[in-house]
Symmetry: C2
C-alpha cells in the first residue's frame, strides 16, 4: 500500500472526522486517499491560517486530535500562526505539510521549503520524514507527543515521493490515550491539610480547568471558598454560582480584585493557570502576597515563574483536584463559616447605543446554551467584563496568543466538533477582513454559525490602546466604513445590519439565527467610550518612563 | 531620544517611503513615531501576509529596501510566508516585529512569541535585540546583510521596553550601498574566449537578469545567440526581440524546447538562473548535455547543483555580463553567422470563451506598458504560455515559492514603488478569498490597480493537476460560485463581471481602468481545457511508480 494510505487508516482508526486545509501538488496524494475515506471530510478553507484555528477548536471541543494539512512552501508557512496558537493553548493538533521529493531537496523545486526548523520552536515535535516505512511510525510518535504530558501541536513534513511510495501493509497502531498525571500521595495529603487548616481561602481558576470544572466546583463548594477566574476561563462556569466573584486580570471585575486584596485571605489555591500577564493584571503582587500558595498544574514549568509557590502540585487537573476533595472528605473536615459576597449584577442601562448594551441586548435574545467564540478586538474586553455567563463552557476566549480572525475559524471548528451547541462568533471588522472569507467555507459545508461583526471601521483595540498610551492615535488605524452585511449578502449569506439598539429585537434575531448555514449580523457602531482594558495600557505605558 | 526614534531616523535617511503592516500594542511605539515622520507612510493592511508581499514588490520595483512590521505573536507568525518568499526571490526586506518586554520573557505576556528562531531558516539574519543601545546598530547590520551578497530578508524582533527606552542620540549610519561582485579577470577572459570560439551557442536568461537586461541583450546581440527565458524571467524582454525563442520550463514553448534539444549548440550561457524545477522542465538533462556550460550568478551555491557547470562565474549579473561584452569587443570578435529562427506568433482564434482568449482580448485593450502581477493558479500557466510580452519588465511571476494571493499584494507594492506604470493583478477566486481584502487597502490609500479575477469557482490548478495525475478530482476542490464583482461593488469598488468574450470591449475596459483607486474585473469562466502545465504533472506522477 501507499505510505500515505497507512496514515489515512491510522487517522480513521483514531476517529478523526475532519481534516482542515488547502490541497496542492505536494499533498495531492493525501487528498486523493480522502476519496476512499468516507469517514473523514476534508474541510477546504480559504486560508491555511483559518484551517489551523478550526483544527485547534475541533481539538478543544472534541477532546481529541485536530488535524490540518497544507502544501509545502506557502501552505506550510501559512499554518505557523496556528501552530504557535495551539502551543500556547495546549491543544493537540497534528500539522501535516507536503515537501518536495527527497532527491530534489536543495534544488529549488516548486514551493520548496524546509518547514521542520520553522515549526521547531512552536510545536512539541517537528520532523521531516524521508523514508516511507517511517511515515506512519513518525506520525504515531508525533500524535503520542501531542496528546501526552502538556498537550500541544506537532508537525510532520511529508515529501511527495514518501507519501506515494509503496510499503508493506503495516499493523495500524491504536491512537494514544492520555495517561493522567497525579502528584504523590504525601503532597495531596499536605495540601489537603493546609486547605483544612485555612480559615479564609480563595481559588483562582485558569483555562486549565476546562475538563475539570465539575471537580473544581465540587472542591470549591466543599471548602466554601470564593473563586475568581482568569479572562481565558470566563465562561466555564455560569455567573449564578454563589461562590463566583468574577474575572480577575485583563478587563476583569472590581469584586475579583477586592478578593485578591483581602488581607484576611490566608491561602490561595491556583488551579490551571500559568499566571501570565492577562491572568494576573500584569503580575499584580497582591495575588499571592501574604497568602500560602498552592498551585495545581499539568505543566511543571509554570511553578515559581514570577510568583513564589509554597506547594506546587504537578498533575492533571481533574484527578488532582478530585484527590484533594477525597482527602478532605476522608478527614473530619468542616469548612470555616465565612460569608461569601453575592456576585455583583452586570449593570445594563440599555439607553446608549454602545458595545456593552449591544452585547447585552443580543445575548438576551440568543439561546442560553449559545457558545460564543470571541475574536480579538476592542469588543473582547467588553465581552470579558460585561457579558454574563449563562451556561457552562459557553465562551471561547483567546487573550494569550490573540490572533486576529482566530475567532472566526474557532466557531467553525467548535461547531463541527459539538454540532448540537448553537455557536456564535463575535468578531470585528479588522478580524473579518483578515479571515472573514471563511464564512464561505461555512456556507460550502452547511455549517450554521452566526457571525456577529462589530464594525467600527477601525482597529478599535489599537485605536483606544494607542490613544490612552500616547494621547493621540494614527489616522491610519481607521478605515473607510465597509458595509459588511451587504458584502455578506453579495456572497449569498443571510445578513442584517444593525444601526440602533432598537434594531435588535426578537424578530431580527429569529430571522438571522442560522439554520442550514452561516449568517451574519453587522453591528455598525463607533464606540468612543474607553473600553475596560485599562490595565493592559498601564502595563504598556510603564516602559520608557 | 527613544531607541525607536533612532530607527525611524535611519529609515528616513535610507529614503524608505512606505512601511507595510498592522499596528498592535507591541509596536505602538514604532507607529507613534510615524506621526512625526511625514516622509514614511504606514500602509496598514488587512493581513500581515499581504503586507510582506507588498514590501517584497516594493523592494523589487524600487530597487531599495522593503520594510514590513507586525506585532509580537500572531503578527510575527503571519509574516513568515513573506519572509520565505523574499528569501526565495532574493529580495531585501526588513521584517520588524514587536516582542514582549525583556523582563517578562517566559512569563506568558500577551502575544508572547520567540520569533527569532522561527525566522532563522527563512531569512539571512534574525535577532531579538534586548538592549536599547543595540537596536539601531543591529538594524543597520541587518539591512547591510539584506542588501549585500545574495540579497534577502532579515528579521529584527524589538521588545516593547527596548523600543521605548531613552538612548543618547546616536549618529545615524548611512544606508548600505551594494558592492558589486566581479569574477577574476582570468575567468572573464576564459569565458570570453570560449564564447568567441563557439560556432553555435544559446543563452538561458533567468530571473537574476532583472536589472541587467540591457547588459544581457547587448551580449546576446553581439554574439547573435538565440536566447530563452525561464518562466520567472518571462516579461523582462518584449517578444519581438529577434533572438527571443520563448520560455523554457513550466508552461513554456515548443520553440524554446527545440533550441534546448538542438544538438548543434556547443555552448550554453546561463545568466541568473538557479536551474530549479520550473526553469528546467524538471531538470531536463538536455539543457546542458553535450554543451560547454558557462553559468553567471551572484549566488555561488547555484553552481553544480544538478547540472555540471564547466565555467562558473561568480559575480553580479550586470557587471559580469558587461565585462564579457567588453572582453569580446576588445578582441577581434566576429559572430558566426548562424540563422536564428523567427519567434512563433501566439495563436489566437478568438472563438471560444476560454482562459487563453480572455487573456489575449484583455491585453489587447490594456496599455502596452501595463505591468502584470500574476498570482498563483491555473491562469498562471496560460499567462506564461500565451500572453505576449509587449514592454520591458512587464510581468511579475512567482512560480517558485508560489504563495496564493501574493499577486494581489505584489500589485499594490509594485504600484507604490513605480506609480507611473499601469498595474494589473491577474488573480483567481482562490487567491482572492485568501488575500483579496487588500483591495480595501488599495481603496484606502487611493492606489489605482486593476484586479482581474479569473473566477472558475474552484482551485483550478489543483483540480486540473489532480485530475491529470489521478484521473479524478475531489469535489471539495470546487466551491459554490461567488459573484465577486458584486462583492467588490458592495465594498464600493468599481467592478464589472465578464461572462462572454464579447463582453470584453473598449468601452468596458475604459470604464474599469482605474483612475484614483482600485477596480475589479471578474471573469466568470470555467475552463475545462487542459492548462499548459503538463510537465509539472509528469513530475508529480513520476513518484510511487
Amino acid at each position: 500500500m501507499k505510505a500515505v494510505k497507512a496514515v489515512m487508516d491510522y487517522l480513521v482508526n483514531g476517529n478523526v472526522t475532519h481534516v482542515f486545509g488547502i490541497p496542492a501538488g505536494s499533498v495531492n496524494a493525501f487528498f486523493d486517499e480522502l476519496y476512499d475515506t468516507p469517514s473523514i471530510t476534508p474541510v477546504v478553507t480559504k486560508h491555511e491560517g483559518a484551517a489551523s484555528y478550526m483544527a485547534a477548536a475541533y481539538a478543544k471541543y472534541s477532546g481529541s486530535l485536530g488535524v490540518c494539512i497544507a502544501s509545502s512552501g506557502p501552505g506550510a508557512t501559512n499554518l505557523v500562526t496556528g501552530a504557535a496558537n495551539a502551543m500556547r493553548e495546549h491543544l493537540p493538533v497534528l500539522f501535516l505539510t507536503g515537501a518536495v521529493p527527497v532527491d530534489t531537496v536543495g534544488l529549488n523545486a516548486s514551493q520548496e521549503l524546509h518547514a521542520d526548523p520553522i515549526y521547531q520552536s512552536v510545536t512539541k515535535y517537528s520532523q521531516r520524514v524521508d523514508r516511507a516505512e517511517e511515515l506512519l511510525p513518525e506520525i504515531h510518535k508525533a500524535v503520542e507527543i501531542a496528546m501526552t504530558g502538556v498537550p500541544g501541536p506537532v508537525h510532520i513534513s511529508m515529501p511527495i515521493d514518501v507519501q506515494l511510495e509503496s510499503i508493506a501493509p503495516p499493523s495500524i497502531p491504536s491512537f494514544p490515550q492520555r495517561t493522567k498525571l497525579l502528584p504523590r500521595d504525601e503532597l495531596i495529603a499536605e495540601a489537603a491539610d493546609k486547605l483544612a487548616d485555612t480559615k479564609k481561602g480563595m481559588i483562582l481558576l485558569g483555562q486549565g480547568i476546562r475538563g475539570a470544572v465539575k471537580d473544581a466546583l465540587e472542591l470549591a463548594e466543599l471548602l466554601h471558598w470564593p473563586f475568581i477566574t482568569t479572562p481565558q476561563a470566563k465562561g466555564y462556569i455560569p455567573d449564578d454560582h454563589p461562590l463566583h466573584q468574577g474575572v480577575f486580570g485583563f478587563a476583569g471585575h472590581e469584586q475579583a480584585s477586592t478578593l485578591v486584596h483581602d488581607s484576611e485571605v490566608e491561602t490561595i489555591l491556583i488551579l490551571g493557570s500559568s499566571l501570565g500577564e492577562t491572568a494576573t493584571n500584569n503580575w499584580n503582587p497582591h495575588l499571592t502576597r501574604s497568602k500560602y500558595t498552592i498551585q495545581v498544574d499539568y505543566d511543571a514549568t509554570v511553578f515559581n515563574r514570577r510568583y513564589n509557590v509554597d506547594l506546587p502540585l504537578h498533575g492533571d487537573l481533574d484527578v488532582t483536584i478530585s484527590s484533594l476533595t477525597t482527602a478532605l472528605k476522608s478527614g473530619d473536615y468542616n469548612p470555616a463559616e465565612v460569608a461569601v459576597p453575592v456576585r455583583e449584577k452586570h449593570r445594563n442601562d440599555r439607553d446608549e447605543y454602545n458595545t456593552q448594551n449591544v452585547l447585552h441586548a443580543l445575548q438576551e435574545l440568543l439561546p442560553a446554551s449559545t457558545r460564543f467564540t470571541i475574536d480579538i478586538g476592542e469588543f473582547m474586553s467588553y465581552v470579558i467584563h460585561h457579558m454574563p455567563v449563562r451556561s457552562a463552557d459557553s465562551f471561547d476566549i483567546n487573550v494569550h496568543f490573540g490572533a486576529m480572525g482566530s475567532g472566526i475559524g474557532s466557531a467553525i471548528g467548535a461547531k463541527l466538533a459539538d454540532p448540537d451547541r448553537p455557536t456564535v462568533s463575535i468578531t470585528g471588522d479588522g478580524c473579518f477582513f483578515m479571515h472573514g472569507m471563511e464564512i464561505l467555507t461555512a456556507k460550502e459545508y452547511d455549517i450554521p454559525v452566526l457571525f456577529i461583526v462589530m464594525n467600527n471601521a477601525r482597529l478599535g483595540m489599537v485605536h483606544h490602546g494607542h490613544a490612552l498610551q500616547y494621547k493621540r492615535a494614527h489616522e491610519r488605524f481607521g478605515q473607510k466604513p465597509v458595509a459588511i452585511a451587504e458584502m455578506a449578502a453579495s456572497m449569498g449569506i443571510p445578513s442584517v445590519r444593525i444601526e440602533t439598539l432598537e434594531d435588535i429585537d426578537t424578530e431580527t434575531i429569529a430571522k438571522i439565527l442560522p439554520a442550514d448555514g452561516p449568517s451574519l449580523l453587522e453591528i455598525s457602531l463607533v464606540d468612543d467610550n474607553i473600553p475596560p482594558m485599562g490595565d493592559r495600557v498601564k502595563f504598556l505605558s510603564s516602559f520608557g518612563k
